[in-house]
């Protein structure tokens, strides 16, 4: 059993940067990564804005030193890049020195290749290698291979937009129970025609820059990203004299049990998730210094989440902001990239602004943090909610 769950490494690739340093730089300089879609051929190109990663698949392939025969989906490419950065950052040179697992999250999996070759698969032998890469677990198997994780506990979580938060949660529990000494946790999702059209039919895609918690918010921008953390037990931290970036202090998962896609008006599931996480952390609401909100900028989410925040914290909620104006909503990866942002906030004692906000929401009086703010932070709460009523909260802290 391990008392603390130490975070010793992190890696990220998103629309605002190809690594942790670039992401931080963009966050504090208010540089957003939202643009018109360039890598996917879609009739909606003039109706939507997205958070795309600059690298092409060929560039990612060469960054990973893969030969052209590989059958990586973009989800796998992105995941491998971010996971490798995390492991390197944690100073791990021998991955098998400790019992190391991988918990990855994805919702898209290999859909980017499936949608490209759906009918072509039947005739063209050259593209058939991608067929077996469709299932969500395949990207995780490839990331494990890239990290050299063998004969170990490797699994994939897919709970829509809360997936990566749940991967962090499971990883923390596996360390706590002593089942693993070390675990790489996070998520990856690439852009796809499938998700663009899915969210389009739900009419929750904004035609302009997404504006979380704004009264006139028009919906979300889809994004693509991957991010991973390395979690290690007290034992490994001590034995290896590791620098600890932060700790996973609390986590909570609950189901809204309200609707397959919509959140309940009063945020029942979100409230439960935040309360559970506080309970596990043994914190009171006032112990939270900053909330990195899910804040997708859809009418439904921001109302439901805002009300849930008030239910847990009262009208005097701590500073909160959504960073989705920077990155777009990166679906299964969102809980991962926002975990990295939460840790960057803790490390640098800074709260990232909730960009594009103009008008206070009518339904409540809490207002997100609008300007970059320096504040001594001890704890950060990160929320992630998804389809299927899935609500997750993770709390990160500076101290064990």
């Amino acid at each position: 059993m391990s008392k603390g769950i130490a975070i010793t490494g992190m890696g990220i690739i998103s629309a605002i940067g190809n690594n942790v340093a670039e992401n931080y730089h963009a966050l504090i300089n208010e540089r957003i990564g939202i643009s018109r879609v360039s890598k996917i051929d879609t009739i909606h190109e003039n109706d939507i804005m997205v958070g795309e990663i600059a690298y092409t698949n060929q560039e990612l392939e060469s960054l990973l030193n893969l030969t052209p025969e590989n059958n990586y989906s973009r989800t796998a490419f992105l995941g491998a890049i971010a996971a490798k950065e995390a492991v390197k950052h944690a100073g791990i040179t021998d991955i098998s020195a400790y019992k190391t697992g991988l918990i990855s999250a994805t919702s898209v999996g290999g859909m980017d290749m499936t949608e490209k070759y759906y009918y072509q698969y039947l005739e063209d032998e050259n593209v058939q290698k991608y067929i077996a890469g469709h299932n969500a677990g395949d990207s995780t198997q490839k990331i494990a291979q890239q990290l050299g994780i063998e004969e170990s506990l490797v699994t994939t979580i897919s709970t829509a937009c809360s997936s990566a938060a749940n991967a962090i949660m499971l990883g923390a529990r596996l360390i706590k129970a002593g089942k693993l000494d070390r675990v790489v946790v996070g998520g990856t999702d690439c852009m796809s025609k499938f998700t663009i059209n899915g969210f389009k039919t739900l009419m929750i895609l904004s035609d302009t820059y997404n504006a979380p918690f704004d009264d006139n918010r028009k919906g979300l921008n889809l994004g693509e990203a991957a991010a991973y953390l390395v979690l290690e037990s007290d034992h490994v931290v001590k034995a290896e004299n590791k620098t600890v970036l932060a700790y996973v202090k609390g986590y909570g998962n609950a189901n809204d049990a309200f609707h397959q896609t919509a959140s309940s008006e009063n945020g029942d599931g979100a409230t439960l998730a935040m309360e559970k996480a506080l309970e596990i952390a043994n914190y009171k609401p006032e112990d939270i210094d900053y909330i990195n909100a899910h804040g997708t900028a859809t009418g439904n989410n921001d109302l439901s989440e805002g009300r849930a925040i008030i239910r847990v914290f009262g009208e005097k909620a701590p500073e909160f902001s959504s960073t989705k104006a920077y990155t777009g909503h990166t679906l299964a990866a969102a809980g991962g990239i926002e975990a990295v942002y939460a840790i960057l906030a803790l490390q640098n004692n800074v709260i990232f602004p909730n960009l594009n906000f103009k008008t206070q929401m009518q339904e409540f009086s809490i207002t997100p943090q609008l300007k970059l703010k320096e504040k001594a932070l001890k704890t950060v709460m990160s929320n992630s909610f998804g389809f299927g009523g899935n609500c997750s909260t993770v709390i990160f802290s500076k101290k064990e």
Partner: protein
Amino acid sequence: MEKVYINSFGSVSAQNTEYDSSFLKDIISYNDTTIPAINPIYKDFIPPAAARRMAKGVKMGIVASKLALQKANLNNVDAIITGTGMGCLHDSEKFLSAIIDNDEQYLTPTPFIQSTHNTVGGQIALEIQCKGYNFTYVHGSNSFESALLDAKLQLELNEAKNILIGGVDELAKHTVLLNKTINHIKKEPVESAELLETNTKGAIFGEGANFFVVSNEKQDSTLAVVDGLEIYNTLEVDSITDKAREFLKEHNLNVSEIDTLILGNNGDEEFDIYYNTLTSGDFKNTQQMVYKPWIGECYTASSFGLLLAANILKTKTVPETFQLNAIIPSQYKTILLYNQYRGENHSFTLLRQC
């Protein structure tokens, strides 16, 4: 640490598994390349209006979970943990082909909404109004095992009392076609009893839903104790024997103490060697059973193996048809399960009588 009991199961499969009275009494033999699950009378479990919007996977999942809850005499649980290798394939195909065929126009949101991997887990939560922990694992042939592992972790540490876990996968037309193209599904139909002797590439695909109530409290309905579970992303054929020994040793067991070995052979000449290494090696004097020839292969087929094992420990009888060798043990106390798909995502599960 608390023990982990299997208190009930509910199953929709290509065999008679829905009701206790007919449970695996007459084994149905198939002669095809895909084996669909037998449709239960859905309206006994799901309001028809709701059922019309649901694909088979979701419906099978709801029926299996309701059966499991009924048999455990529960209305609700502390957590719902689902495993699915391919997720809601039918709706994924429906939405994707509509995008391609109609050039991204005239789309309706329903198939997209229902295509999400956690649809089954979410729908079950909605049905029984369970606001507790709800996870969905999607990791190939360890999707269901991940769900069991997660539940075991919570029950052992007393973080929950009753957890509903399950494995569900559905067949879908285009995916079947694609898997035939790359020889993951056999080209020619095979009789169930002949499947393991075909010496051809690929498997016979199937579908189904097997849900269980696992608990750290024993009750009258309890079938077995889950004593051990390990999952491995990779394993070489050469190391499978050592891994099996290592797993048994961790549970203070030797090979002779295993009464029955339940295996995931699917008749694929390329990958059954993993199973054959065990059956012709360390376990050659152990009773061996297989089930995939009669229900088909899918990423969560191993959840059927678990209910088979649990049922053997409770009833002390085995469906003879599933026996791979002629050995009959003197008792049914300890069962080992081993599964993998295409040489990846291996698992050992250890069940004991309680």
